[in-house]
Symmetry: C2
Subunit: 257 residues, 2 copies
DNA sequence: TCAGACTTCTTGTACCAACAAGTTGAGCAA
DNA sequence: TTGCTCAACTTGTTGGTACAAGAAGTCTGA
Protein backbone atom coordinates (compact mmCIF):
# COMPACT_ATOMS: atom_id res chain seq x y z
CA UNK A 1 0.00 0.00 0.00
CA UNK A 2 2.00 2.90 1.32
CA UNK A 3 5.23 2.50 -0.57
CA UNK A 4 5.75 6.23 -0.37
CA UNK A 5 7.72 7.57 2.57
CA UNK A 6 5.69 9.11 5.33
CA UNK A 7 6.98 12.65 4.87
CA UNK A 8 5.87 12.46 1.23
CA UNK A 9 2.41 11.42 2.30
CA UNK A 10 2.27 14.41 4.63
CA UNK A 11 3.36 16.75 1.86
CA UNK A 12 0.94 15.25 -0.66
CA UNK A 13 -1.99 15.39 1.74
CA UNK A 14 -1.33 19.01 2.62
CA UNK A 15 -0.85 19.95 -1.03
CA UNK A 16 -4.18 18.36 -1.88
CA UNK A 17 -5.89 20.29 0.87
CA UNK A 18 -4.31 23.53 -0.26
CA UNK A 19 -5.33 22.86 -3.86
CA UNK A 20 -8.92 22.07 -3.00
CA UNK A 21 -9.22 25.14 -0.84
CA UNK A 22 -9.25 23.64 2.64
CA UNK A 23 -6.43 26.05 3.33
CA UNK A 24 -6.80 29.17 1.21
CA UNK A 25 -4.08 31.66 0.27
CA UNK A 26 -2.67 33.36 3.33
CA UNK A 27 -4.32 31.05 5.82
CA UNK A 28 -2.38 29.28 8.53
CA UNK A 29 -1.67 25.57 8.54
CA UNK A 30 -1.96 23.45 11.68
CA UNK A 31 1.14 23.49 13.85
CA UNK A 32 3.84 20.86 13.59
CA UNK A 33 2.58 19.31 16.81
CA UNK A 34 -0.97 19.01 15.51
CA UNK A 35 0.17 17.55 12.20
CA UNK A 36 2.42 15.21 14.09
CA UNK A 37 -0.61 13.85 15.95
CA UNK A 38 -2.80 13.75 12.85
CA UNK A 39 -0.34 11.77 10.74
CA UNK A 40 1.04 9.73 13.63
CA UNK A 41 4.54 10.83 12.73
CA UNK A 42 7.36 12.41 14.65
CA UNK A 43 7.85 16.15 14.52
CA UNK A 44 10.95 15.68 12.37
CA UNK A 45 9.03 13.66 9.80
CA UNK A 46 6.29 16.28 9.61
CA UNK A 47 8.96 18.94 9.26
CA UNK A 48 10.46 17.09 6.30
CA UNK A 49 7.09 17.13 4.58
CA UNK A 50 6.51 20.79 5.32
CA UNK A 51 10.02 21.61 4.17
CA UNK A 52 9.27 19.98 0.85
CA UNK A 53 6.28 22.27 0.32
CA UNK A 54 8.32 25.28 1.40
CA UNK A 55 11.03 24.52 -1.13
CA UNK A 56 8.34 24.07 -3.76
CA UNK A 57 7.11 27.55 -3.03
CA UNK A 58 3.66 26.45 -1.91
CA UNK A 59 3.90 27.54 1.71
CA UNK A 60 6.16 29.67 3.84
CA UNK A 61 7.12 29.45 7.49
CA UNK A 62 8.12 31.93 10.11
CA UNK A 63 9.37 31.30 13.58
CA UNK A 64 6.72 31.86 16.21
CA UNK A 65 3.95 32.26 13.67
CA UNK A 66 3.70 28.92 11.95
CA UNK A 67 3.23 27.90 8.36
CA UNK A 68 1.02 29.80 5.93
CA UNK A 69 -0.14 29.19 2.38
CA UNK A 70 1.67 31.52 0.05
CA UNK A 71 -0.25 34.27 -1.70
CA UNK A 72 0.52 34.97 -5.32
CA UNK A 73 0.08 38.52 -6.32
CA UNK A 74 1.61 38.93 -9.70
CA UNK A 75 2.52 42.07 -11.53
CA UNK A 76 2.48 42.14 -15.29
CA UNK A 77 5.40 43.71 -17.04
CA UNK A 78 5.18 44.72 -20.61
CA UNK A 79 8.56 44.12 -22.18
CA UNK A 80 7.78 44.93 -25.80
CA UNK A 81 6.32 48.35 -25.09
CA UNK A 82 8.96 49.09 -22.52
CA UNK A 83 11.49 50.64 -24.71
CA UNK A 84 11.03 52.23 -28.08
CA UNK A 85 11.58 55.58 -29.62
CA UNK A 86 8.08 56.87 -28.95
CA UNK A 87 8.26 56.00 -25.28
CA UNK A 88 11.92 56.11 -24.34
CA UNK A 89 12.89 53.80 -21.53
CA UNK A 90 14.12 55.24 -18.30
CA UNK A 91 13.43 54.80 -14.65
CA UNK A 92 10.06 56.37 -15.25
CA UNK A 93 8.75 53.49 -17.35
CA UNK A 94 8.84 51.55 -14.14
CA UNK A 95 7.46 54.39 -12.04
CA UNK A 96 4.51 55.05 -14.31
CA UNK A 97 3.71 51.36 -14.63
CA UNK A 98 3.67 50.93 -10.89
CA UNK A 99 1.79 54.13 -10.19
CA UNK A 100 -0.87 53.36 -12.78
CA UNK A 101 -1.43 50.04 -11.01
CA UNK A 102 -2.21 52.00 -7.86
CA UNK A 103 1.01 50.99 -6.15
CA UNK A 104 3.78 53.07 -4.66
CA UNK A 105 7.15 52.89 -6.44
CA UNK A 106 10.50 53.48 -4.76
CA UNK A 107 14.00 53.00 -6.05
CA UNK A 108 17.59 53.50 -5.10
CA UNK A 109 20.09 54.36 -7.76
CA UNK A 110 23.85 54.06 -8.12
CA UNK A 111 26.39 54.73 -10.85
CA UNK A 112 29.88 53.34 -10.91
CA UNK A 113 32.77 52.93 -13.27
CA UNK A 114 33.97 49.34 -13.23
CA UNK A 115 35.72 46.75 -15.30
CA UNK A 116 33.55 44.53 -17.45
CA UNK A 117 33.14 40.90 -16.37
CA UNK A 118 33.80 38.37 -19.11
CA UNK A 119 30.27 37.38 -20.03
CA UNK A 120 29.15 41.00 -20.15
CA UNK A 121 32.13 42.05 -22.26
CA UNK A 122 31.13 39.33 -24.69
CA UNK A 123 27.66 40.80 -25.09
CA UNK A 124 28.99 44.33 -25.51
CA UNK A 125 31.72 43.13 -27.90
CA UNK A 126 34.51 44.77 -25.95
CA UNK A 127 37.65 43.39 -24.32
CA UNK A 128 37.12 41.58 -21.01
CA UNK A 129 38.10 43.69 -17.98
CA UNK A 130 37.86 46.87 -20.03
CA UNK A 131 36.25 49.95 -18.55
CA UNK A 132 32.48 50.30 -18.50
CA UNK A 133 29.86 52.37 -16.74
CA UNK A 134 27.39 50.50 -14.59
CA UNK A 135 24.07 52.10 -13.71
CA UNK A 136 22.42 50.06 -10.98
CA UNK A 137 18.88 50.26 -9.74
CA UNK A 138 17.15 48.57 -6.81
CA UNK A 139 13.39 48.79 -7.13
CA UNK A 140 10.56 48.43 -4.64
CA UNK A 141 6.79 48.34 -4.89
CA UNK A 142 4.98 49.36 -1.72
CA UNK A 143 8.33 48.90 0.05
CA UNK A 144 8.56 45.28 -1.07
CA UNK A 145 11.78 44.54 -2.99
CA UNK A 146 10.79 43.91 -6.56
CA UNK A 147 13.76 43.83 -8.88
CA UNK A 148 17.33 44.86 -9.44
CA UNK A 149 18.54 46.28 -12.70
CA UNK A 150 22.11 46.67 -13.85
CA UNK A 151 22.90 48.37 -17.13
CA UNK A 152 26.41 48.38 -18.59
CA UNK A 153 27.54 50.94 -21.15
CA UNK A 154 30.81 50.35 -23.01
CA UNK A 155 33.63 52.84 -22.54
CA UNK A 156 33.66 54.08 -26.13
CA UNK A 157 30.02 55.12 -25.74
CA UNK A 158 30.71 56.92 -22.49
CA UNK A 159 33.34 58.98 -24.31
CA UNK A 160 30.63 60.24 -26.63
CA UNK A 161 27.96 60.49 -23.94
CA UNK A 162 29.67 61.68 -20.76
CA UNK A 163 26.45 62.28 -18.86
CA UNK A 164 26.12 58.49 -18.48
CA UNK A 165 28.55 58.74 -15.59
CA UNK A 166 26.43 61.31 -13.79
CA UNK A 167 25.14 60.01 -10.52
CA UNK A 168 21.38 60.21 -10.35
CA UNK A 169 18.76 59.91 -12.99
CA UNK A 170 19.07 61.44 -16.41
CA UNK A 171 15.82 63.32 -16.47
CA UNK A 172 14.83 62.81 -20.08
CA UNK A 173 15.86 59.15 -20.05
CA UNK A 174 19.06 57.59 -21.28
CA UNK A 175 17.58 56.42 -24.57
CA UNK A 176 16.42 59.93 -25.44
CA UNK A 177 19.72 61.41 -24.26
CA UNK A 178 21.67 59.04 -26.51
CA UNK A 179 19.25 59.76 -29.32
CA UNK A 180 19.95 63.50 -28.97
CA UNK A 181 23.62 62.66 -29.61
CA UNK A 182 22.75 60.81 -32.77
CA UNK A 183 22.98 57.34 -31.22
CA UNK A 184 19.73 55.61 -32.03
CA UNK A 185 18.79 52.26 -30.55
CA UNK A 186 17.43 50.45 -33.57
CA UNK A 187 16.77 47.06 -32.06
CA UNK A 188 17.41 44.81 -29.11
CA UNK A 189 17.91 41.16 -28.30
CA UNK A 190 16.31 39.84 -25.14
CA UNK A 191 17.08 36.72 -23.21
CA UNK A 192 14.95 35.33 -20.41
CA UNK A 193 15.96 32.61 -18.04
CA UNK A 194 15.11 31.32 -14.61
CA UNK A 195 16.98 29.71 -11.74
CA UNK A 196 17.05 29.67 -7.99
CA UNK A 197 18.49 32.86 -6.49
CA UNK A 198 22.02 33.16 -5.24
CA UNK A 199 22.27 34.13 -1.56
CA UNK A 200 23.12 37.66 -2.69
CA UNK A 201 19.99 37.87 -4.82
CA UNK A 202 17.88 36.36 -2.08
CA UNK A 203 19.16 39.06 0.26
CA UNK A 204 18.53 41.99 -2.06
CA UNK A 205 15.08 40.84 -3.09
CA UNK A 206 14.16 39.32 0.29
CA UNK A 207 13.27 36.07 -1.38
CA UNK A 208 12.18 33.18 0.80
CA UNK A 209 12.91 29.54 0.13
CA UNK A 210 11.27 27.98 -2.90
CA UNK A 211 10.98 31.12 -5.00
CA UNK A 212 12.96 31.32 -8.25
CA UNK A 213 14.17 34.49 -9.92
CA UNK A 214 13.28 35.58 -13.42
CA UNK A 215 16.26 37.08 -15.19
CA UNK A 216 15.75 39.31 -18.16
CA UNK A 217 18.71 40.55 -20.15
CA UNK A 218 18.51 43.00 -22.99
CA UNK A 219 21.27 43.96 -25.41
CA UNK A 220 20.51 47.21 -27.19
CA UNK A 221 21.98 47.84 -30.62
CA UNK A 222 22.73 50.92 -32.64
CA UNK A 223 23.50 49.48 -36.04
CA UNK A 224 25.85 46.57 -35.63
CA UNK A 225 27.24 47.90 -32.38
CA UNK A 226 25.91 46.92 -28.93
CA UNK A 227 25.45 50.09 -26.90
CA UNK A 228 24.09 48.72 -23.68
CA UNK A 229 23.55 45.51 -21.80
CA UNK A 230 20.85 45.39 -19.15
CA UNK A 231 20.33 42.62 -16.60
CA UNK A 232 17.09 42.77 -14.65
CA UNK A 233 16.46 40.29 -11.85
CA UNK A 234 12.87 39.86 -10.72
CA UNK A 235 11.27 37.96 -7.92
CA UNK A 236 9.70 35.04 -9.75
CA UNK A 237 6.65 34.91 -7.51
CA UNK A 238 5.63 38.48 -8.22
CA UNK A 239 6.25 39.03 -11.88
CA UNK A 240 5.19 37.99 -15.33
CA UNK A 241 6.77 39.26 -18.48
CA UNK A 242 4.68 40.12 -21.50
CA UNK A 243 5.59 40.50 -25.14
CA UNK A 244 3.29 41.63 -27.87
CA UNK A 245 4.39 40.98 -31.40
CA UNK A 246 2.70 41.70 -34.67
CA UNK A 247 -0.48 43.60 -35.33
CA UNK A 248 -2.81 43.48 -32.32
CA UNK A 249 -4.56 46.76 -33.07
CA UNK A 250 -7.89 45.05 -33.80
CA UNK A 251 -7.78 43.31 -30.44
CA UNK A 252 -6.84 46.47 -28.57
CA UNK A 253 -9.67 48.45 -30.15
CA UNK A 254 -12.03 45.71 -29.12
CA UNK A 255 -10.67 45.79 -25.56
CA UNK A 256 -11.24 49.51 -25.31
CA UNK A 257 -14.95 49.18 -25.92
CA UNK B 1 31.59 35.70 15.63
CA UNK B 2 29.57 32.80 14.34
CA UNK B 3 26.09 34.14 14.70
CA UNK B 4 25.02 32.10 11.71
CA UNK B 5 23.72 28.58 12.35
CA UNK B 6 26.14 25.82 11.68
CA UNK B 7 24.25 24.30 8.75
CA UNK B 8 24.36 27.72 7.05
CA UNK B 9 28.11 27.84 7.52
CA UNK B 10 28.38 24.44 5.91
CA UNK B 11 26.24 25.53 2.96
CA UNK B 12 28.14 28.80 2.55
CA UNK B 13 31.53 27.11 2.70
CA UNK B 14 30.55 24.53 0.12
CA UNK B 15 28.99 27.16 -2.13
CA UNK B 16 32.20 29.19 -2.00
CA UNK B 17 34.24 26.15 -2.93
CA UNK B 18 31.92 25.34 -5.80
CA UNK B 19 32.05 28.94 -7.02
CA UNK B 20 35.83 29.14 -6.92
CA UNK B 21 36.20 25.85 -8.73
CA UNK B 22 37.36 23.57 -5.94
CA UNK B 23 34.48 21.37 -7.02
CA UNK B 24 33.77 21.78 -10.71
CA UNK B 25 30.55 20.98 -12.54
CA UNK B 26 29.73 17.30 -12.32
CA UNK B 27 32.34 16.50 -9.70
CA UNK B 28 31.48 14.69 -6.51
CA UNK B 29 31.40 16.34 -3.11
CA UNK B 30 32.83 14.70 0.01
CA UNK B 31 30.44 12.31 1.71
CA UNK B 32 28.23 13.36 4.58
CA UNK B 33 30.51 11.51 6.98
CA UNK B 34 33.60 13.34 5.74
CA UNK B 35 31.88 16.73 5.89
CA UNK B 36 30.61 15.87 9.34
CA UNK B 37 34.18 15.38 10.50
CA UNK B 38 35.47 18.46 8.67
CA UNK B 39 32.90 20.84 10.13
CA UNK B 40 32.67 19.11 13.50
CA UNK B 41 28.92 18.80 13.09
CA UNK B 42 26.46 15.97 13.30
CA UNK B 43 25.35 14.21 10.17
CA UNK B 44 21.92 15.84 10.51
CA UNK B 45 23.44 19.30 10.56
CA UNK B 46 25.56 18.61 7.50
CA UNK B 47 22.51 17.20 5.75
CA UNK B 48 20.61 20.42 6.47
CA UNK B 49 23.35 22.41 4.81
CA UNK B 50 23.51 20.11 1.81
CA UNK B 51 19.72 20.16 1.53
CA UNK B 52 19.84 23.91 1.30
CA UNK B 53 22.18 23.75 -1.68
CA UNK B 54 20.04 21.05 -3.28
CA UNK B 55 16.91 23.17 -3.01
CA UNK B 56 18.86 26.09 -4.44
CA UNK B 57 19.67 23.99 -7.47
CA UNK B 58 23.42 24.11 -6.93
CA UNK B 59 23.99 20.43 -6.28
CA UNK B 60 22.05 17.20 -6.61
CA UNK B 61 22.15 14.01 -4.62
CA UNK B 62 21.48 10.38 -5.37
CA UNK B 63 21.32 7.51 -2.99
CA UNK B 64 24.40 5.37 -3.04
CA UNK B 65 26.34 7.80 -5.21
CA UNK B 66 26.68 10.93 -3.15
CA UNK B 67 26.32 14.61 -3.93
CA UNK B 68 27.46 16.16 -7.18
CA UNK B 69 27.74 19.71 -8.49
CA UNK B 70 25.01 20.32 -11.01
CA UNK B 71 25.95 20.85 -14.65
CA UNK B 72 24.20 23.56 -16.58
CA UNK B 73 23.78 22.88 -20.22
CA UNK B 74 21.39 25.43 -21.58
CA UNK B 75 19.56 25.45 -24.85
CA UNK B 76 18.62 28.71 -26.49
CA UNK B 77 15.15 29.06 -27.84
CA UNK B 78 14.29 31.79 -30.27
CA UNK B 79 10.77 32.89 -29.52
CA UNK B 80 10.47 35.80 -31.92
CA UNK B 81 11.50 33.84 -34.99
CA UNK B 82 9.50 30.84 -33.90
CA UNK B 83 6.26 31.69 -35.50
CA UNK B 84 5.60 34.05 -38.32
CA UNK B 85 4.13 33.90 -41.76
CA UNK B 86 7.42 33.30 -43.51
CA UNK B 87 8.33 30.41 -41.26
CA UNK B 88 5.07 28.93 -40.02
CA UNK B 89 5.26 27.30 -36.63
CA UNK B 90 4.67 23.61 -36.30
CA UNK B 91 6.24 20.71 -34.51
CA UNK B 92 9.13 21.02 -36.93
CA UNK B 93 10.32 24.36 -35.60
CA UNK B 94 11.35 22.41 -32.54
CA UNK B 95 12.71 19.48 -34.52
CA UNK B 96 14.85 21.61 -36.79
CA UNK B 97 16.16 23.71 -33.91
CA UNK B 98 17.20 20.62 -32.00
CA UNK B 99 18.64 18.83 -35.00
CA UNK B 100 20.65 21.86 -36.07
CA UNK B 101 22.18 21.91 -32.59
CA UNK B 102 23.39 18.38 -33.21
CA UNK B 103 20.93 16.86 -30.78
CA UNK B 104 18.31 14.19 -31.27
CA UNK B 105 14.66 15.30 -30.99
CA UNK B 106 11.83 13.03 -29.95
CA UNK B 107 8.23 13.82 -29.16
CA UNK B 108 4.95 12.21 -28.29
CA UNK B 109 1.77 13.74 -29.49
CA UNK B 110 -1.87 13.63 -28.40
CA UNK B 111 -5.08 15.30 -29.48
CA UNK B 112 -8.21 15.45 -27.39
CA UNK B 113 -11.50 17.27 -27.27
CA UNK B 114 -12.06 18.70 -23.81
CA UNK B 115 -13.83 21.42 -21.94
CA UNK B 116 -11.95 24.66 -21.45
CA UNK B 117 -10.70 25.45 -17.93
CA UNK B 118 -11.61 28.91 -16.72
CA UNK B 119 -8.33 30.73 -17.13
CA UNK B 120 -7.87 29.33 -20.63
CA UNK B 121 -11.42 30.23 -21.66
CA UNK B 122 -10.65 33.75 -20.54
CA UNK B 123 -7.68 33.97 -22.89
CA UNK B 124 -9.63 32.50 -25.79
CA UNK B 125 -12.62 34.71 -25.02
CA UNK B 126 -15.06 31.82 -24.94
CA UNK B 127 -17.42 30.55 -22.23
CA UNK B 128 -15.78 28.56 -19.42
CA UNK B 129 -16.30 24.81 -19.77
CA UNK B 130 -17.10 25.17 -23.46
CA UNK B 131 -15.69 22.71 -25.94
CA UNK B 132 -12.13 23.08 -27.21
CA UNK B 133 -9.51 21.01 -28.96
CA UNK B 134 -6.31 20.37 -27.08
CA UNK B 135 -3.18 19.39 -28.95
CA UNK B 136 -0.58 18.19 -26.47
CA UNK B 137 3.09 17.55 -27.02
CA UNK B 138 5.75 16.03 -24.79
CA UNK B 139 9.21 16.80 -26.08
CA UNK B 140 12.60 15.24 -25.46
CA UNK B 141 16.14 16.09 -26.46
CA UNK B 142 18.51 13.13 -26.51
CA UNK B 143 15.84 11.26 -24.52
CA UNK B 144 15.93 13.86 -21.75
CA UNK B 145 12.51 15.37 -21.07
CA UNK B 146 12.61 18.95 -22.27
CA UNK B 147 9.21 20.55 -22.38
CA UNK B 148 5.51 20.00 -22.60
CA UNK B 149 3.30 22.02 -24.88
CA UNK B 150 -0.48 22.29 -24.77
CA UNK B 151 -2.33 24.26 -27.42
CA UNK B 152 -6.05 24.99 -27.13
CA UNK B 153 -8.19 25.87 -30.13
CA UNK B 154 -11.69 27.28 -29.54
CA UNK B 155 -14.66 25.29 -30.79
CA UNK B 156 -15.79 27.85 -33.35
CA UNK B 157 -12.40 27.60 -35.03
CA UNK B 158 -12.52 23.81 -35.11
CA UNK B 159 -15.83 24.05 -36.98
CA UNK B 160 -14.02 25.94 -39.71
CA UNK B 161 -10.85 23.90 -39.52
CA UNK B 162 -11.85 20.28 -38.80
CA UNK B 163 -8.39 18.86 -39.36
CA UNK B 164 -7.37 20.32 -36.00
CA UNK B 165 -9.00 17.29 -34.38
CA UNK B 166 -6.92 14.88 -36.43
CA UNK B 167 -4.64 12.80 -34.29
CA UNK B 168 -1.06 13.14 -35.35
CA UNK B 169 0.82 16.03 -36.83
CA UNK B 170 -0.57 18.25 -39.50
CA UNK B 171 2.22 17.96 -42.01
CA UNK B 172 2.32 21.52 -43.29
CA UNK B 173 1.91 22.99 -39.81
CA UNK B 174 -1.22 24.30 -38.16
CA UNK B 175 -0.46 27.94 -38.88
CA UNK B 176 -0.11 27.27 -42.60
CA UNK B 177 -3.19 25.04 -42.56
CA UNK B 178 -5.26 27.78 -40.94
CA UNK B 179 -3.77 30.29 -43.34
CA UNK B 180 -4.94 28.15 -46.27
CA UNK B 181 -8.47 28.53 -44.88
CA UNK B 182 -8.16 32.28 -44.80
CA UNK B 183 -7.44 32.48 -41.08
CA UNK B 184 -4.26 34.49 -40.73
CA UNK B 185 -2.44 34.86 -37.43
CA UNK B 186 -1.64 38.56 -37.46
CA UNK B 187 -0.05 38.89 -34.04
CA UNK B 188 0.45 37.24 -30.69
CA UNK B 189 0.75 38.12 -27.05
CA UNK B 190 3.29 36.22 -25.00
CA UNK B 191 3.54 35.85 -21.28
CA UNK B 192 6.51 34.36 -19.47
CA UNK B 193 6.57 33.38 -15.83
CA UNK B 194 8.47 31.11 -13.51
CA UNK B 195 7.68 29.06 -10.45
CA UNK B 196 8.58 25.78 -8.83
CA UNK B 197 7.08 22.79 -10.60
CA UNK B 198 3.98 20.99 -9.43
CA UNK B 199 4.53 17.30 -8.67
CA UNK B 200 2.87 16.50 -11.99
CA UNK B 201 5.26 18.77 -13.89
CA UNK B 202 8.22 17.41 -11.97
CA UNK B 203 7.18 13.91 -13.02
CA UNK B 204 6.70 14.69 -16.72
CA UNK B 205 9.92 16.67 -17.01
CA UNK B 206 11.91 14.57 -14.53
CA UNK B 207 12.87 17.66 -12.62
CA UNK B 208 14.95 17.27 -9.48
CA UNK B 209 14.66 19.42 -6.39
CA UNK B 210 15.65 23.05 -6.71
CA UNK B 211 14.90 23.47 -10.40
CA UNK B 212 12.15 25.90 -11.42
CA UNK B 213 10.06 25.70 -14.58
CA UNK B 214 9.83 28.39 -17.21
CA UNK B 215 6.30 28.78 -18.48
CA UNK B 216 5.68 30.43 -21.78
CA UNK B 217 2.16 31.14 -22.93
CA UNK B 218 1.22 32.53 -26.30
CA UNK B 219 -2.17 33.77 -27.42
CA UNK B 220 -2.43 33.96 -31.20
CA UNK B 221 -4.81 36.45 -32.78
CA UNK B 222 -6.53 36.69 -36.10
CA UNK B 223 -7.89 40.21 -36.06
CA UNK B 224 -9.57 40.83 -32.74
CA UNK B 225 -10.26 37.14 -32.20
CA UNK B 226 -7.96 34.79 -30.28
CA UNK B 227 -7.53 31.62 -32.31
CA UNK B 228 -5.18 29.65 -30.12
CA UNK B 229 -3.66 29.56 -26.68
CA UNK B 230 -0.41 27.71 -26.18
CA UNK B 231 1.18 26.83 -22.85
CA UNK B 232 4.73 25.57 -22.99
CA UNK B 233 6.46 24.35 -19.84
CA UNK B 234 10.24 24.12 -19.92
CA UNK B 235 12.79 22.82 -17.50
CA UNK B 236 14.28 26.02 -16.13
CA UNK B 237 17.78 24.60 -15.87
CA UNK B 238 18.01 23.73 -19.53
CA UNK B 239 16.38 26.58 -21.39
CA UNK B 240 16.68 30.23 -22.20
CA UNK B 241 14.18 32.16 -24.20
CA UNK B 242 15.26 34.74 -26.75
CA UNK B 243 13.41 37.60 -28.35
CA UNK B 244 14.74 39.85 -31.05
CA UNK B 245 12.87 43.05 -31.65
CA UNK B 246 13.52 45.86 -34.06
CA UNK B 247 16.11 46.08 -36.81
CA UNK B 248 19.11 43.89 -36.07
CA UNK B 249 20.09 43.32 -39.68
CA UNK B 250 23.33 45.28 -39.34
CA UNK B 251 24.35 43.14 -36.39
CA UNK B 252 23.46 39.92 -38.16
CA UNK B 253 25.44 40.83 -41.25
CA UNK B 254 28.39 41.59 -39.01
CA UNK B 255 28.00 38.22 -37.28
CA UNK B 256 28.04 36.38 -40.58
CA UNK B 257 31.48 37.66 -41.48
C1' DT C 1 35.86 -16.95 -17.41
C1' DC C 2 31.71 -15.66 -15.48
C1' DA C 3 27.69 -15.26 -12.58
C1' DG C 4 26.19 -14.46 -8.25
C1' DA C 5 26.75 -13.46 -3.31
C1' DC C 6 28.69 -10.42 -0.19
C1' DT C 7 30.96 -6.50 1.84
C1' DT C 8 31.32 -1.71 2.06
C1' DC C 9 30.58 2.46 0.66
C1' DT C 10 26.94 5.97 -0.11
C1' DT C 11 22.36 8.63 0.93
C1' DG C 12 17.30 8.06 2.58
C1' DT C 13 13.89 7.60 6.21
C1' DA C 14 12.32 7.83 10.86
C1' DC C 15 12.49 8.35 15.46
C1' DC C 16 13.94 10.65 20.01
C1' DA C 17 15.60 14.57 22.98
C1' DA C 18 16.84 19.23 24.34
C1' DC C 19 17.23 23.92 24.06
C1' DA C 20 17.04 28.54 21.32
C1' DA C 21 14.32 32.11 19.64
C1' DG C 22 10.29 34.60 17.70
C1' DT C 23 5.20 35.86 18.58
C1' DT C 24 1.14 36.52 21.03
C1' DG C 25 -1.98 37.27 24.49
C1' DA C 26 -3.10 37.08 29.49
C1' DG C 27 -2.58 39.25 33.56
C1' DC C 28 -0.62 42.21 36.80
C1' DA C 29 1.04 46.70 38.51
C1' DA C 30 1.37 51.66 38.20
C1' DT D 1 -6.01 52.94 30.84
C1' DT D 2 -1.36 52.05 30.01
C1' DG D 3 2.77 49.60 30.05
C1' DC D 4 5.36 45.75 31.45
C1' DT D 5 6.37 40.95 32.54
C1' DC D 6 5.77 36.43 31.67
C1' DA D 7 3.73 32.12 30.34
C1' DA D 8 2.46 29.49 26.50
C1' DC D 9 2.47 28.83 22.14
C1' DT D 10 5.07 28.55 17.64
C1' DT D 11 9.25 27.15 14.55
C1' DG D 12 14.59 26.87 14.42
C1' DT D 13 18.85 24.47 15.55
C1' DT D 14 21.69 20.64 16.96
C1' DG D 15 22.73 16.56 18.74
C1' DG D 16 21.98 11.52 18.85
C1' DT D 17 20.49 6.52 17.04
C1' DA D 18 18.95 2.86 14.03
C1' DC D 19 17.85 0.71 10.01
C1' DA D 20 16.54 0.82 4.82
C1' DA D 21 18.10 1.05 0.26
C1' DG D 22 20.94 2.10 -3.82
C1' DA D 23 25.64 1.53 -6.06
C1' DA D 24 29.97 -0.51 -6.80
C1' DG D 25 33.61 -3.25 -6.30
C1' DT D 26 35.49 -7.87 -4.33
C1' DC D 27 35.47 -12.38 -3.59
C1' DT D 28 33.96 -17.05 -4.30
C1' DG D 29 32.31 -21.06 -6.48
C1' DA D 30 30.93 -23.37 -10.62
Amino acid sequence: MSKQPKYQQVADALRREIDNGTYGPGSRLPSEAELSARFDASRNTVRSGLNLLVSQGLISSSQGLGYAVRKHEVFKLNASRFENLNFPQNGDAYSTDVTSAGRRPHQTFRVEVTTTPGHIAEQLKVEPESRAVLRFCHRFVDDVPWSTQATYYPDWLVQEAPRLTEPGDIAEGTTRYLSSLGIEQVGYADEILTRMPTPEEARLLEIGAGVPVLIWTRTGYSGEQPIRYTITTFRGDLNRMNYEIGDLSARDENEAK
